[in-house]
């Protein structure tokens, strides 16, 4: 048994550490812990601020899923104050949310995750002619053709299309060669390129992957162009409580939004759809197929046991979340909990998630048994976010000092993340969870009138199951499944943006240009005390923001973010969160080079700053795998 530590994990957002105990003989992970190693205290900083400013502060939780937290906050504040945003604002926000999810997923797969799958060193062995041929095969065999919703057809032909010319791949290969030969590998330096997992794919796929890594690096900015049009910038575009700041006028030359601006948005959405249909989805499926064919169907963990979603994309404006209106006209009704999906569709159990559940302190709450926090006066209890307390209580590691950790204490407190629970149990969230929920709901007849989004999801699942030749219950709750559903969802999000763009145009055509409801802008119009909740299906999963407003100021603010659901420390019963479970459901070939652990953790698209530890249970020899130079002294 060997305990291995990885701290910090790179190519994620934030600071994360993991420690795993590996059985060297079988490669089985016996125990795993995941620890968020940084705490910024944003909930405390929100206190006493103007609720109208809240979105700007809390948006800074994350610059990768930028906008997710801003939207969560706006929805919470608008729920508390009883504001219904105008139609145009709803459409614009949904366009921004849609393209944000696409861009986030693209960055995740190509730039944060890809180098766990493809290697520039392997790419050197590829034959450019064969690579060009393979590109054609990928396009013909792995495209998932979907029919989008009825919308304006503004694109004459696809502007972004994969290049399948040998010379192009020669040039890419030459560049990679030059970099490798220069001795300055830069971003490609020091990965375990000799790990056997890099032999799973043929060299041509590696070269293709590297080419698309670079191409998507150049293209991803065009996906979020609409943020710059509607919100002025990206990352961190601007919003206002009550709608959007970008007034629409066809009568004014200086209006933030006019025909030309809308054409920019349209162009960017068309590009986005091209990139999904011809790059992202085929690439992921081609790679996923090769992995699945070689038997890599592990890394599911919690996804097999319990997944959770809140639902998203309000089709039309709604009057509030806590009053149930939010859930009445959603396009993506993944609200609910599915248990035991890994045991097959028949054994799977579904529990609905309704608005009433939001105010029930027994349904959603957070515990701090293994977190570096305390609940003064409520020790051992789980608190509902509206009554949530954020009070730090740092205890240090099991071995080492408070400022120089060796191993963290899995029996005590070990993370800056709290442990969120649904009815006392932990759950996994994310694109995979949302797909499992929609699939289960439709297959079990709980949704009888699927929306076009839900239909598209079912079509995708069917198509992929056919390609992989596996049942959804088998391929979905796996590491590959987690990555594949993210790509499929990105395709859906791209069409969602197109759909709402179409609605926006129709509504403006009908003469409505209103983008903000400012009747409740003045704090004098607010109740003395009110509470609100904002739900949002962020790129990484179900997000909820909880606000208490008193005397025109924020009196309490709590956010349960997707990565908290997934990366949380274990609960008081010793049950593991999604990251820990997924790691324990993964086989490690070489404990000193735990590429599989990194890959499965990154398949969640971690949004934190964290680190992973693999360690020796006997405490004899601690192998610390680190991306950090200053751990050197700790070693051996």
């Amino acid at each position: 048994m060997k305990r291995v530590v990885v701290d910090p994990i790179t190519r994620i957002e934030g600071h994360l550490r993991v420690e795993v105990k590996v059985d060297e003989a079988t490669g089985k992970v016996e125990d795993a812990l995941s620890s968020g190693t940084a705490w910024r205290g944003l909930e405390l900083i929100m206190n006493d601020r103007d609720p109208r400013d809240g979105w700007a502060y809390i948006q800074r939780i994350c610059g990768v899923c930028t906008t997710a937290h801003a939207l969560g906050c706006l929805r919470a504040v608008e729920d508390a104050l009883g504001i219904t945003i105008p139609k145009n604002a709803n459409y614009i926000r949904n366009i921004m949310a849609g393209v944000q999810s696409v861009q986030d997923h693209v960055i995740h797969f190509y730039h944060l995750h890809a180098l766990d799958w493809v290697s520039p060193v392997e790419a050197l062995k590829a034959d450019p002619v064969a690579t060009a041929a393979m590109q054609n095969t990928v396009l013909s065999a792995y495209k998932v053709n979907v029919t989008g919703p009825e919308s304006l057809d503004t694109e004459a032909y696809p502007k972004e299309f994969p290049k399948a010319t040998p010379e192009y791949y020669q040039k890419i290969q030459k560049k990679v060669k030059d970099i490798v030969e220069s001795g300055q590998l830069g971003i490609f330096a020091a990965q375990w390129w000799d790990h056997p997992d890099f032999q799973i794919l043929p060299p041509e796929v590696h070269l293709l992957g590297i080419a698309h890594y670079l191409e998507m690096l150049d293209k991803q900015r065009e996906i979020v162009t609409s943020h710059v049009v509607f919100g002025g910038k990206n990352p961190h575009p601007h919003y206002i409580v009550g709608g959007m700041p970008c007034s629409i006028s066809m009568d004014d030359m200086n209006a933030p939004v006019n025909t030309e601006r809308l054409a920019i948005v349209d162009r960017s959405i068309n590009t986005t759809i091209n990139l999904m249909n011809d790059f992202y989805v085929p690439d992921v499926l081609a790679i996923g197929k090769m992995y699945v064919d070689k038997g890599y169907v592990d890394g599911g963990g919690m996804a097999k046991e319990r997944v959770l979603g809140f639902g998203d994309y309000p089709d039309e404006p709604y009057t509030g979340t806590t009053n149930g209106d939010f859930h009445k006209n959603l396009l993506y009704r993944c609200n609910g909990i599915v248990e035991d999906f890994g045991k097959g569709l028949d054994a799977a159990k579904f529990y609905d998630f309704k608005a009433e559940d939001l105010s029930d302190p027994e349904v959603l709450n957070e515990g701090v048994e293994h977190s570096w926090y305390e609940y003064p006066g409520a020790e051992g209890k789980d608190l509902h976010p509206w009554d949530g307390v954020t009070k730090a209580k740092y205890t240090g590691p099991k071995e080492g000092t408070k400022t120089d950790w060796k191993t963290l204490d899995e029996d005590g407190k070990y993370s800056w993340l709290k442990t969120p629970k649904w009815r006392g149990k932990m759950a996994e969230v994310g694109p995979l969870s949302r797909y499992i929920i929609i699939y289960t709901k439709i297959k079990k007849g709980l949704i009888t009138d699927p929306t076009w989004v839900e239909k598209m999801i079912m079509d995708q699942i069917e198509a992929v199951s056919k390609v992989l030749n596996l049942a959804p219950e088998v391929w979905m709750p796996t590491m590959v499944g987690r990555t594949a559903t993210r790509a499929l969802e990105a395709q859906v999000h791209a069409y969602v943006a197109k759909y709402y763009f179409n609605k926006l145009i129709k509504n403006i055509k009908a003469g409505d240009t209103k983008v903000a409801d400012t009747t409740k802008w003045d704090p004098k119009t607010w109740p003395k005390e009110c509470k609100g909740v904002g739900l949002y299906e962020a790129p990484r999963g179900a997000l909820s923001h909880w606000v208490v407003i008193k005397d025109g100021k924020i009196a309490n603010y709590q956010a349960i973010v997707p990565t908290t659901w997934n990366a949380c420390p274990r609960d008081n019963k010793g049950d593991h969160g999604a990251y820990e479970k997924a790691m324990m459901d993964t086989k490690v070939k070489i404990p000193d080079k735990p590429l599989e652990i990194l890959k499965v953790v990154r398949s969640f698209d971690p949004c934190m700053a964290c680190s992973t530890h693999l360690y020796n249970a006997e405490g004899k020899k601690i192998k610390i795998v680190t991306t950090d130079p200053y751990l050197r002294t700790n070693q051996e």
Partner: protein, 365 residues
């Protein structure tokens, strides 16, 4: 900054034998995860002039600055990262994790000691010895000090690195501070504020170095003059509306639709130095003001504590509210007090005169 030496130059300077040089090349080859048949290439490379080396550290941040860096169109990030610099260490982009990466970094820091560029994104948490931001099992603050020691120049990217950023807003529970407060002024520090900075500004600083071989000219605060040389207000395309007195009074009113000045909706353009007004975002596409929302002053030090963002003077009164109302009330009170005092003084004078007359009368008697 001096021109970077090749690894072979370093060996010559330090009087290291060719054989030892080859040995370290071999070590380097294995560290880079390459086959030994690549050794000759590595040796050849080590004798060539290398690209400027960049080490990028992350403190208390949201990774928005990395994202912004990736959004750059001119130069494209791919061109910059593959052709102009060697980004040897980055939590966001680097392929590696684990021991070999650590070795690689250590090697990089040694080989380019005193020559590498250190880019820092994020604030430094200092409360309770820095335990609120742990990386690699150690407080970030100690990591920063170590890497900063042998850096040639430090780039502070974003509001967090330049002034502590959002986590340093009141009550600053983690004791977050800027990079400069930790490393002092012993090294040249380029300050690139913004939340996040404009993509092309972020890459522009590095591009300037790659093109001209030196740092861009800096102002007295350490900001590149070419990107932070003017206020947004002084470069804003809506400035004529300000000058003429044409303002949006509420969001989505006629003034908002007409694209008038957002001064009355709290715009911080008049106090904010940034390239939003001229470079704009996405190569001139837009910036918050053009999209109808006032500037929140994100490139100003400590702007997070200059809220509420929708209020300017006189409504912006952090202590008691509208300054002009307070002023007018104070003037009213003072006037009333003065009038009262005047009246009482007259009474007092009358009394005094009466007393004097009385005593005068007595004298006459």
């Amino acid at each position: 900054m001096d021109k970077l030496e090749t690894m072979w130059d370093v060996c010559l300077r330090k009087n290291i034998k060719r054989r030892s040089f080859l040995k370290s090349c071999a070590a380097l080859t294995s560290i880079m995860g390459l086959n030994m048949d690549m050794l000759s290439k590595v040796v050849a490379a080590a004798e060539k002039n290398p690209l400027p080396v960049v080490i990028w550290l992350h403190g208390h941040e949201c990774t928005g600055c990395d994202e912004s860096f990736l959004r750059s169109a001119t130069p494209l990030t791919s061109d910059l990262v593959l052709n102009s610099i060697a980004l040897e260490y980055s939590h966001a982009l680097s392929a590696a994790a684990g021991e070999p990466f650590e070795e690689h970094l250590h090697q990089t820091m040694q080989q380019y000691a005193g020559k590498y560029i250190l880019a820092v994104e994020g604030a430094v948490a200092t409360a309770e010895n820095g335990i609120y931001c742990m990386t690699g099992g150690k407080p970030f603050v100690s990591v920063l000090k170590e890497v900063a020691k042998n850096a040639a120049v430090i780039i502070e990217y974003g509001a967090c690195a330049t002034s502590g950023g959002i986590q340093a807003a009141k009550p600053n529970p983690t004791g977050s501070v800027s990079v400069r407060e930790i490393v002092g002024n012993s090294k040249p520090i380029v300050k690139v504020p913004g939340c996040p900075p404009i993509p092309e500004v972020m890459t522009g600083v590095v591009m300037h170095y790659a093109l001209f071989g030196k740092l861009p000219p800096l102002d007295n605060e350490g900001r590149p003059k070419q990107f932070y040389g003017n206020r947004i207000h002084d470069t804003c395309y809506r400035r004529p509306f300000f000058d003429t007195g044409m303002f949006a009074e509420n969001f989505d009113d006629a003034g908002s639709k007409a694209g008038w000045c957002l001064y009355k909706l709290g715009c911080r353009g008049p106090v904010t130095y940034n390239s939003c007004g001229n470079l704009r975002w996405w190569n001139g596409l837009s910036y918050p003001i053009q999209s109808g929302h006032g500037c929140i002053g994100c490139s100003n030090d400590h702007f997070w504590d200059e809220d509420p963002f929708y209020k300017r003077l006189p409504e912006y009164g952090p202590i008691l509210g509208d300054v002009d109302k307070i002023g007018a009330a104070a003037v009213g009170l003072t006037t009333a007090g003065v009038a009262l005092h005047g009246a009482m003084s007259v009474v007092q004078k009358k009394k005094r005169q009466a007393a004097e007359e009385k005593s005068d009368g007595k004298k006459v008697e």
